[in-house]
Symmetry: C2
Subunit: 410 residues, 2 copies
């Protein structure tokens, strides 16, 4: 079963928008066992669109079109397809009702032009849009199918999931399924992980492994194609076990799990509370910890003692330590962690100090130098890091390292 | 002058990666006055790639190819093009030297296969890669040109800017230039701005205006095509003045400027220091304020008093106010702002409390209810907001509103 994706919109060709729809649909089609051979973007030009669709109907079974379903004359998708296939446009009263309801809920009159969205090619199926006004449209043409979806991702995705996936499952069974599993790690560079799982990265289909390096994180994705779900999951489990045994403690989560969630789970599991005193990260660690719903169970207080006086007065760093070792030092990180822990009567104190740059670095204390201290009743540790990158990059990498110290250190 | 972009990589067709290169190159080519007519993605398949390039050489003057320049056998771009054009691959010693230098700087041996990247089609030009190992390659073919760039954006972008832009300017002068100007606003919904600039959104080329809604922000982008830079900038200035007079105080910045920068500029201009006590945003406001290099000039301290006791003990909220009005109330926001201002002896105190959800809401205090208070020696104000969306959405919108209160309120 071959598919291709055609994205329509001059704003895409001008680079005003990044085409996330193509990636979204490609991934979901792959999971349904449907191979995508081409993604193409064209502008709001009926001639070039018709040419491309003609070609697509020859080489692919499923043609997914995104965009160009809006209410203006620039929105050409439906008219172009209808003309090309020699089909009349017919008014669908239930689509029109949906459009009217959409505007009524917003206390607005139906703007000129929006009624056009209720016209679809004769014989076509449609899927209601619960977020916007343009429906999803399914046009069957001989043994092929054209599927039109609105451009905005928050409209496209629910229509695809609720209306198109069931249609494809029913009509375009591929005979196999596709499953993925992402294993997320932090604390090792990509080059190191590359060496540790080199044999797995060289696996050939039906089961393969990809490596994706992000800032302060390396993900491994296992992809398996199999006759059915159970076989695919079995194939994934075999590889997953190998990766787990090799990367072990560097793995913080799977699929959609975040590092802040992993740190939070650990705090809940240990029944511990935490307070954070962070300087160079400026609140990022507290913000990430509290991104997790329910974090008020363990997160008691964040402090961003930016100025030196504040470190002394409010986080319990001694003026002498500051003077002797400087604000960016092992000693100050430790005193920040100890200070916030004892002031707040929590189980875990985290202290972070460093130079995020781009200015403020010296030869002995360059931009990217960061100290992170973690103090509990049992342990007291401080780590030195040398990060590279922009100010935002250094802040992010510091937050990754700090969250990982919570995850592994308490 | 017509161009098209061909992105090569099975990981794109699997939806594992979002194609940001196509948007980047499209935007930059538009700015150079070069129209992009197609963006196409194909997998690591020599046959389909050759077919597509053949077609592209007929319909376009400039064919940009991204990806497939890596050291493995899956990287097919150069071999496919050389075979297609009947050109031999020749070793370039200076590219090889660059590859060796790259690994030496990382204390690594040159891995098997990387030497392949030093072979380019006979007669081709190349542009050094200062970040990775694959060079940019320029292949002139009759009156057309094929330009190959490595897939990773952080390698592609510098090669494009330093090597390809000068080449295109010299060889493919289009006779016109393209300029854009983005005007960034916050505080008004998209629908409202739509009405206020409706006539401008309907403008036709050569000067047009686009509207782009983000979370807590609406951007307007003016695009002008003209004979030369001065004419384009003049055309933009005319529209920009109209937008400025209509949206006025809702405009916080232009082009790459961020709201946290705008807030910082205001603090510097007023020569004021600030401290932040934020509860529901969990440190996000402090983190964004300190994302600005040099923010230590005005940002003194952030506090994330998550637990109620902490609000009382460390930020100066009275236990009575907490009991009487609840943690999420106008009164507590104000006391947080006043408290942090007086404890820290700063000029501006910001207090933020709210319910980020998804749990914790009640009928009288639903998820999304947020109070932001700003206190200076002169003014004392508190605003109530009702945001919708996920926990992260509500946090972000709150930080937008808070930064904007700093920008406009001091």
């Amino acid at each position: 079963m071959k598919a291709e994706i055609i994205s329509i919109g001059t704003e895409l060709l001008l680079g005003r928008i990044v085409n996330t729809n193509a990636a979204y649909l490609s991934q979901r089609l792959a999971e349904l066992g449907i191979d995508v051979y081409y993604q193409t973007t064209v502008g709001d030009n009926p001639h070039r669109l018709a040419q491309l669709v003609r070609k697509a109907l020859i080489r692919s079974d499923i043609v997914m079109l995104t965009g160009g379903l809006g209410p203006t004359v620039d929105d050409i998708t439906i008219r172009t397809l209808a003309a090309m296939l020699g089909k009349k446009l017919v008014l669908k009263r239930s689509i029109l009702k949906n459009i009217k309801r959409h505007f009524k809920a917003r206390h607005l009159a139906v703007p000129d032009g929006n009624e056009r969205q209720a016209y679809i090619p004769q014989g076509a199926k449609w899927v209601a849009n619960r977020v916007g006004t343009a429906p999803g449209i399914i046009i069957e043409h001989r043994d092929k199918v054209l599927i039109c979806l609105p451009g905005p991702p928050r409209e496209l995705q629910p229509i695809f999931e609720k209306g198109i996936v069931p249609y494809l499952k029913k009509n375009f069974r591929s005979g196999y399924v596709f499953r993925t599993r992402t294993i997320k790690t932090t604390g090792l560079p990509e080059s190191q992980i590359n060496i540790m799982v080199k044999d797995l990265l060289e696996l050939k289909p039906p089961t393969t492994v990809g490596i994706y390096a992000k800032l302060g994180e390396v993900d491994l994705t296992i992809m398996a194609k199999a006759k059915n779900r159970i076989a695919a999951e079995k194939a994934i489990a075999v590889i997953e076990n190998k990766i787990r045994s090799r990367l072990d403690k560097y793995i913080f989560g799977y699929d959609e799990e975040t590092l802040e969630q992993a740190a939070g789970h650990r705090l809940i599991a240990e029944n511990k509370t935490i307070a954070v005193a962070e300087s160079c990260t400026g609140g990022l660690i507290s913000s990430r910890l509290t991104d997790v719903s329910g974090s008020s169970r363990y997160f008691i207080r964040g402090a961003v003692p930016y100025a030196n006086e504040v470190k002394v007065k409010h986080v319990g760093v001694s003026a002498e330590t500051l003077k002797r070792y400087g604000a960016v030092s092992k000693q100050v990180a430790l005193e920040m962690a100890r200070g916030i822990k004892s002031i707040m009567h929590v189980d875990v104190g985290l202290g972070v100090t460093g130079i995020a740059g781009p200015t403020g670095g010296t030869k002995s204390k360059p931009v990217g130098l960061v100290y992170i201290a973690l103090v509990t009743d049992e342990v007291s540790m401080v780590k030195e890091f040398h990060f590279v990158g922009s100010r935002a990059d250094i802040k992010w990498q510091t937050s990754q390292a700090a969250l990982d110290m919570i995850r592994t250190g308490i």
